[in-house]
Each structure stands twice: as structure tokens, then as C-alpha cells.
């Protein structure tokens, strides 16, 4: 119930401060760019369009998938920082919302939003082959959506205040380019396994090329990695607000 009431408050605020509108609208722009601009961009690629064109299309589509949670997640992260700097978290902790409710609300919203857009992305992209197994795409789509709360908590955990948060967000955004590593030769690209977005990209591109087993393997790996990372970062964040 309290989430509903907070949503109403947030929705009212949207009318005055269009931030939530942006959070909601920005991934739509990414989907539109993927649908209408990406095929044109890909058609400009040098070389034989038959060879490797699918690889490029799947990789562009994977970058777009990872871009979806970036903005909602970063905006949620900035909110966490603003609200911590203003000592609002401590104030909310003594309301019926409690601390857990506050975190749940701040982190669940960008996740749900990103999940919705991520689910729409493969069909919106038009870049994946019609044979791509929809179910084998699920782990990578779910993991991509889970990146949204991850970006937020990363900023809250690593940054002491909003200034450091901006510096962190400048760096964390780069992980969306991890799919480009798939173009590198095999042993060299494994360095990408350090970032969870590489696992997500592996899973997504495997699903797109019809390799369901690899899609599940990398996808479940990505999810486990994300959960471990989240627990660690969330603990760091909690210690910062106490």
C-alpha cells in the first residue's frame, strides 16, 4: 500500500518535475533508435553485408539492451545520492515506509521499468533472425533489467557524495560497450568476463544465433554474478548511510 501511495506522490511530482517522465521516456528513444536508425547505420558498414552482418546486428542490439537500464539506474542512483546528502534516508527510516521500503521502492521501480522495455527490445529491434528462440533470450533480458538497480547501488556504494557519484557514473556507463568485445578474438575477449555486461552480451548473442545452451549458461552465470555483486555493493552502501 505504501508503495502505491509513494507512486502517487511520485506521479504528482512528475507533473512538476519531469524527471520520472525522462526515466520512462529515455528507453523508448533507445528502442526507436534501434528500430529505425540502426538498420541504416548497419547498411553503411564496409565490406560484404552477407558475412558478419548478423554478428554486428546482434552486437548493436545487445548494446541497446544494456543501454535500456543505464538511464533509469543512473537516475535512481542520483536520487539515492541526493537523498543521502540531504539526510532524507534517515528521516524516511522512522516513517511507516521504513528503510527497507525506501530501498525497495527506489530500486524496484527502475528494475520493473527496465524489464518491461527489455522484454520489448528483441522484437522491436528487427535485427535478430526470426529463428531466435524467445525463451533462450529470457536470461539475458532479465539480467539486463537487473542492471538498473545495480547501476544505482554502485553509485551509492562507491561515492561519498553526489560529486563522486557523477565521477562514478562517467565510468560505469562504459560497461554497456562490453558486447563490442565479442568482435575480438577468443582468448583476448575473455578479459571482458570481469564485467557482468559481457556475460549478458554473450548470453544474448548466443540466443540470437540459436545456441540455446550457451544462452542459458552465460545468462545464469550473469545472474549469479549480478546477485553476488549486488549483495556486496548494497552492504557497502548501507554502511555509508549509517
Amino acid at each position: 500500500m505504501i508503495w502505491l501511495r509513494m507512486s502517487v506522490v511520485d506521479a504528482k511530482q512528475t507533473l512538476r518535475d519531469p524527471m520520472l517522465f525522462f526515466m520512462t521516456a529515455a528507453p523508448l528513444l533507445i528502442l526507436a533508435a534501434l528500430r529505425y536508425a540502426a538498420p541504416y547505420g548497419l547498411s553503411l558498414l564496409p565490406g560484404d553485408p552477407e558475412s558478419g552482418a548478423l554478428d554486428f546486428a546482434a552486437i548493436v542490439s545487445a548494446v541497446a539492451l544494456l543501454l535500456v537500464p543505464l538511464l533509469p539506474g543512473t537516475m535512481a542512483g542520483l536520487l539515492l545520492l541526493d537523498e543521502r546528502d540531504e539526510r532524507l534516508v534517515a528521516a524516511l527510516a522512522v516513517t511507516p515506509l521504513r528503510k527497507s521500503g525506501y530501498f525497495g521502492y527506489r530500486l524496484a521501480f527502475p528494475f520493473v521499468l527496465s524489464a518491461g522495455y527489455a522484454a520489448a527490445l528483441p522484437s522491436a529491434s528487427g535485427l535478430l533472425p526470426p529463428g531466435a528462440n524467445a525463451l533462450s533470450l529470457a536470461p539475458s533480458l532479465f539480467a539486463a533489467a537487473a542492471l538498473a538497480p545495480m547501476f544505482a547501488v554502485l553509485m551509492g556504494a562507491l561515492a561519498a557524495n553526489k560529486l563522486e557519484g557523477l565521477a562514478v557514473s562517467k565510468l560505469s556507463g562504459w560497461v554497456v560497450f562490453a558486447p563490442a568485445l565479442l568482435l575480438a578474438p577468443e582468448p583476448a575477449q575473455w578479459v571482458g568476463a570481469l564485467v557482468p555486461t559481457y556475460w549478458i552480451a554473450k548470453s544474448y548473442v548466443s540466443a540470437a544465433s540459436g545456441d540455446a545452451a550457451a544462452a542459458y549458461g552465460w545468462g545464469i552465470g550473469a545472474l549469479l554474478y549480478l546477485v553476488a555483486l549486488f549483495v556486496w555493493l548494497f552492504g557497502k552502501y548501507l554502511r555509508r548511510i549509517e
Binding site: 537516475m75 541526493d82 553526489k162 560529486l163 557523477l166 565521477a167 562504459w174
Partner: protein, 233 residues
């Protein structure tokens, strides 16, 4: 002069402590790696787009945080009760962030292309663009309360000033775009590897960017003064 120097030192130290320099050292390396990995045919366009949208505009991104943190720590009023003038506040923030921008831009270009190409107009355009974006951000930030509010408010401005990008992307070309300072910025950045700029283009770039930057300075200063007066009431 001594006051301005200590303000510059203070701002530079603050930015270093909050990881701005470290972040941009890594970001610059990532850009160099990306540009070097790209096919030859795309490298120059990618360099232009990346430089314009990131290191040249980093002041815009960071100045919002700097101003908002100081506002929220209620440093604004006591700060200006001292002999520290509003103009020094604006100049110091602009100069330090412009310095960081310029360093990142040069590092990325040297790392990706070495010394080849033309430098003079490119450097002038980089510095003027960085200063312009920082001043623009400062002027917007003084009346904002939260970071998200700042970024939302700034999209109106950024989408207008990003419009000239349609030209290097080959999407459109409108004469009216040359009214925007960022049209001159892009010409300056393009001068690095494109055909040698004509005297007319050079004069346009130099005068137009300088004019817009001075105007942005006056605008930011006025916004800051007004905000302080409103806050004092």
C-alpha cells in the same frame, strides 16, 4: 588576483579529491582504446562525435554537481559574504573544468592519432567549447535543487546545442545552424583532419565561439547574482 588563485587551487583540489581527474584519466584511455580498435574509415568521425559529446562537455556534466553540493551544504551565502566575488566563483569553476576538458581532449587525440593533423584551431575550439558548456551548466544549476532536476532542466539546452551534429552525420544541413556556437565548435574540431579551414571559416569560428562564451559568462553571472539575491530575501 591572489583570491582567484586560491579559488582555482581550492576548486582543482576539490575536483581531484572527488575523483574527477582519476575518472577522466580512465575515460580517456577507454576512448583511445575504442578509437584505435575502430576501422580506419570510421575513426575520424567517431573521434569528432566522442570529443564533442564527452570531454568537451564534461564541464557541463560536473559543474551541476559542484554547484548543487555547495548549495545543499549552504555554502552559498557565507561564501559570498566574504570578499570572494561572484565573478571569481564563476571564473574559477570554469577555468578548472575547462583545464580538465582540454587535458582529456588532447590526451585522447594524441593517444589515438599522435601528432598528425592540424592543431591550432582544434585546440582553440576545444577550450572555448569546454568553457561555454561549463558556463551554460553553471547558469542552469544555480536555480536547481537536485541532480536529476538539473539534468532534466538541461536537456532543453543540450538538445538545442547538439542540433549541429546533424551535419557531420550527414543527416541534414541548415544555414540557420551556423547561428549556434556548437556549429563553430564542430568546425573547429573537424579542422583537425578535414581540409584546411579557409580564412573566413577560421574568423567565424574564433569570433563566434568567443562571443558566445563571453555571453554565457555574463548570463551565468547574472543567474548566480539573482539566485543569491532571491536566497537572501
Amino acid at each position: 588576483m591572489i583570491r582567484l588563485r586560491s579559488a582555482l587551487l581550492f576548486d582543482a583540489r576539490l575536483q581531484a579529491r572527488h575523483g574527477f581527474y582519476a575518472a577522466y584519466a580512465i575515460v580517456s584511455l577507454l576512448y583511445v582504446a575504442m578509437l584505435r580498435a575502430l576501422p580506419e574509415a570510421w575513426r575520424e568521425l567517431a573521434h569528432l562525435l566522442a570529443t564533442f559529446s564527452d570531454p568537451a562537455a564534461l564541464g557541463f556534466y560536473f559543474v551541476g554537481g559542484l554547484v548543487l553540493l555547495e548549495k545543499q551544504q549552504r555554502l552559498f551565502d557565507p561564501l559570498f559574504a566574504t570578499p570572494y566575488a561572484a565573478s571569481e566563483y564563476v571564473l574559477s569553476k570554469t577555468a578548472t573544468l575547462t583545464g580538465l576538458s582540454a587535458a582529456a581532449i588532447v590526451a585522447v587525440r594524441l593517444g589515438a592519432f599522435g601528432f598528425e593533423g592540424r592543431w591550432a584551431l582544434f585546440l582553440y575550439g576545444s577550450v572555448a567549447t569546454a568553457a561555454f558548456f561549463t558556463l551554460l551548466g553553471l547558469g542552469i544549476a544555480v536555480s536547481c535543487r537536485t541532480l536529476n532536476g538539473y539534468f532534466v532542466a538541461s536537456t532543453v539546452y543540450t538538445s538545442v546545442f547538439a542540433l549541429p551534429l546533424v551535419e557531420p552525420l550527414g543527416l541534414a544541413s541548415w544555414p540557420a545552424l551556423s547561428m549556434l556556437p556548437t556549429h563553430a565548435s564542430l568546425l573547429a574540431l573537424e579542422s583537425a583532419f578535414g581540409p584546411e579551414p579557409t580564412v573566413r571559416t577560421t574568423i567565424y569560428v574564433v569570433v563566434w565561439l568567443a562571443g558566445w562564451t563571453v555571453a554565457a559568462y555574463a548570463w551565468a553571472l547574472r543567474r548566480l547574482t539573482r539566485e543569491r539575491e532571491a536566497g537572501a530575501e
